[in-house]
């Protein structure tokens, strides 16, 4: 199974959403601030449900928030 690397633009999107705080995003998505911190730092990959909730909060499609890269064949998919 190919390994994938998931990255996100949450920090940038928070900045463009009137510098939304991590706590505000956490409250809007129903998780703890620590989980938002872990997602931003790439230490936790959220469930599909939470990923959609985050995208919905920023009013963006999912692929505008998260992107992934297949490490084995270096093929990047956005």
């Amino acid at each position: 199974m190919a390994k994938i690397n998931i990255t996100n633009n949450i920090r940038t999107l928070r900045f463009f959403a009137n510098e939304m705080t991590q706590q505000e995003l956490a409250e809007k998505t129903g998780v703890s601030r620590q989980t938002i911190v872990a997602i931003e730092n790439g230490k936790y990959f959220p469930s599909l449900e939470l990923a959609f909730m985050i995208a919905h909060t920023f009013e963006k499609p999912l692929d505008a928030v998260f992107s992934f890269e297949i490490i084995n064949d270096k093929k990047k998919k956005k």
Binding site: V31, S32, K43, Y44
Partner: protein
Amino acid sequence: MDIKEKRILVSLVGSVVVMLFYAWYIYSRYIAGNPDILNDFRFWGRSFLILIPIAIGIQILIHIIFAIIIHILWKGEDIDPIEDERDKLIELKAIKISHYIFIVGFMLAMGSLALGMQPWVMFVVLISSGFVASTVNELFRLYYYRKGV
């Protein structure tokens, strides 16, 4: 270190201290003067049954004191943060590892009986494996919170 990590650390230290103190108490009070008691099953039964409420009570007390200290020292910090999918995943992974450790300990305990060792060896191995499994559970939770899951 966030509140959840601090709480795990407090719980870890609390359980280690309680277990060591209880083991020392049982040894010095009962075993040191009368080693034959090790072969008395009632002694082991009573020791188990007394340990459980004591450990739970002290853990509750430690967490209450911890919450008060956190509230006084870090007023802005959320004492009871929401438990979400990441917490559940971390707990699941840590429990899985601790179950494996306890299973190994259980097999060793049964193995000691199969090899004809004294029954007290089985009890010591069983209690130790439960304690190690619980400690490893806390350590892995701490590890997953720090390193990511």
